[in-house]
Symmetry: C2
Subunit: 430 residues, 2 copies
């Protein structure tokens, strides 16, 4: 060939070899099985949308600098999805009158954002999205909280290592409008500062607020707000819808016995479309994973961008990268093994058809079977089975064929027995 | 909102609502479970690659007119993958010395091609890719054939409705070089004509060959070639490597008892990188699905584009769209049902916490449970459960709570019994 191509994947993306795929499937299968246990239904949307969908209601940063947008060969302005919610809202709006509410939907899919690759962030990532449509009351939030906590239990996550932090956009509006009396422009900027409070640190945060021309009193009020607890919310429950909602939500969560959730006034969420409750979950047991594990909120207004009436909606997205880091931090990923149960070596090319016949019978019993295709050295075949962690090897030569039996070798113990194929199947399946 | 957005998905793509997702998951789960039964391992690659990867070795049409390629915000020339093989070859080349051969890998993923949307073709589609690396002999082909036929059996496809057609690129070379003595330029054009033989029809095909300035004798030779059977191949087995390989392949397939495969001299495959065996599978029981269900071949040379030595490789891709059409043609898709087992209605908001507690216990036993979140009219709740095909409804009001029992309703028979939660779980799980 004339030009030698690079073997590295595109910047910010990664190749997933089978060993890594087992880890990812462990995460995805856990997300999926618990979602089904809660009655969530799976759906899917295209990877590409017309760019206008994201200009309409996503956060500034995504739409302006992080979008993979381009013009297709027919002149359409399109973009690879950077998040699910706009597509989902579009899908619901398209069939709003045919769908039976409430909808409890989930999807696991790929997304692209043009970002600087770093720990916890890649340009290509996978997200679980879980959403409930048609439930205006806080029971939607509680259903999602229970789902998230059930997934964490399924992962056997130690209780002291994670925390779901909850806030309410209406409470932030109360801060911006009733306490600080900010202009619309400043609201956005102060909001982004609060969103980055932990990252900035107290000093830089105060500096930044002063740059935004907040006076000393206002800065003091913001800092006070960030220390608020549920007790403080009680004092303003009659004045702030957000405070009232948060109090009701935490009272109900307590009744349900939910743990690992906490009111946190700095939770903001960058995306523009959120109304009411917003959530993020963090690793609180180590300093290895400072980024949020998941984030979401209520977005009752989003369907209006399609000219539809409002529809109550609450949902969240859970990324694969920080979750994998978290699970590794706490050794929660099971020792990855192959899905293959039996390996059939091949001693001689003339036995190929016979061995394939045995493999067929094993597979028809639902036993995952790999049969050697070429008659190389037996030792190398055993090494291959061992390296791949295949638990059983079924050895068949002329003697076994004549005796109508097989040698079944347990690769963990090294034990080997001459048994009939029927007996071998029973042992493997037991 | 100022502008009302469209709710239609991007041209050539489709939204997948939960009912459709059940159908797609039926296909994908069948592909996956049979792949695991054969010992294939799952892997994944990024959706985006640098454009050069596709310029190097894909077919002309894909690289020049069908590619979704663009420039990223950092000036890199990138493309959404139109097929898997180049990415897979890149991945293998990157770790060639660490990987234990043979590799038997599979992936199910999304692809984009800029095409005119029509029956059997969309711009976004899903493909199963199954590949074997490191097996130079025809046992790789036989392993793949057995996998394909096992999947068709798993789908309960009637034997008379499908056929795997097999050819060999070296046999085509024999036609082009030894029989027709064509120039390199004409080889490509005649190859594409043969690839489109069925689509064009005999008359238009002859016309086209004459336009390519093939003389009458050459045209006759091509038409003769297209009628060749295995018997004809025997006459040239010592002169054509392709003929010899095909004869050996069909002899071994016969020994294994494989059915539904046939030598078909018109199978060409457009992609440039194929060497040796090429395959396509067709619906032969109806005229509804003229497009190939799947296609693939041997591509022993592909790793050389990364400066690596050759590595034997055989694989194929199976698209979701034609398969779904095929399964629908023969009514092979099971009546789609929900994965949810039990529905818990809510009579009164004050019972919410109690009902949620019951739901939690059911889920902890692995029973997929949907619990009503808001206390709407009971009749509507029952209608919802019925519409969603949920097989059991567990009715709990004050009476049941006092009796520490539940009313378990079988939605298929209408039968309803007052039982303990334990008993209900046993009935549901039985």
């Amino acid at each position: 060939m004339e030009t030698k191509l690079q073997t590295t994947p595109y910047k910010g993306t990664t190749d997933t070899y089978p060993q890594d795929m087992l880890v990812r499937n462990f995460m995805f299968n856990t997300w999926t099985s618990v979602a089904k246990r809660f009655g969530f239904e799976e759906y899917d949307t295209p990877l590409i949308e017309e760019t206008t969908l994201y200009i309409a209601k996503s956060g500034d940063e995504i739409a302006s600098t992080q979008l993979y947008n381009f013009t297709d060969k027919g002149g359409r302005e399109i973009a690879i999805r950077p998040e699910m919610t706009p597509s989902l809202a579009r899908m619901i709006a398209a069939k709003k009158n045919e769908l039976t509410l409430p909808l409890k939907w989930f999807n696991i899919g790929k997304y692209y954002r043009y970002e600087k690759p770093q720990k916890g962030r890649r340009r290509e990532f996978v997200q679980l999205n879980v959403d409930i449509f048609g439930v205006p009351t806080l029971e939607a939030e509680l259903e999602i909280f229970q789902y998230i906590l059930a997934v964490m239990e399924e992962f056997k996550a130690p209780k002291e290592t994670y925390e779901l932090r909850v806030n309410n956009r209406y409470l932030l509006n109360y801060l911006f409008e009733d306490i600080l009396k900010l202009s619309d422009e400043k609201k956005g900027k102060v909001g982004r500062a609060i969103d980055n409070y932990t990252k900035l640190g107290r000093e830089a945060f105060i500096e930044y607020l002063k740059e935004l021309e907040l006076n000393d009193k206002q800065v003091e009020q913001v800092l006070e707000f960030l220390k608020w607890t549920l007790e403080d919310l009680k004092k303003i429950a009659d004045k702030s819808e957000g405070a009232a909602q948060l109090l009701e939500l935490f009272a109900k969560a307590k009744e349900l016995g939910l743990t690992n959730i906490r009111f946190e006034p700095s939770i903001m969420r960058g995306l523009l479309y959120y109304t009411g409750t917003v959530i993020e979950m963090f690793d609180i047991g180590s300093k290895d994973n400072p980024r949020a594990l998941l984030g979401g909120g209520r977005y009752d207004d989003l369907l209006t961008i399609f000219g539809e009436e409002k529809l109550p909606a609450f949902g969240f997205a859970w990324g694969d990268i920080v979750l994998e880091d978290y699970l590794k931090t706490y050794n929660l990923i099971p020792t990855t093994k192959t899905d293959t149960k039996v390996f059939l070596p091949l001693f001689d090319t003339k036995l190929y058809t016979y061995i394939q016949g045995i493999a067929k019978q094993l597979r028809e019993k639902g036993i995952n079977t790999e049969a050697q295709m070429t008659a190389i050295k037996f030792g190398n075949q055993l090494k291959y089975a061992s390296k791949k962690n295949i638990p059983w090897v079924m050895i068949i030569g002329d003697d076994e064929i004549n005796a109508k039996k097989v040698q079944l070798k347990n690769m963990a113990t090294g034990e080997q027995n001459l048994v009939t194929l029927e007996e071998a199947m029973k042992i493997i399946n037991s």
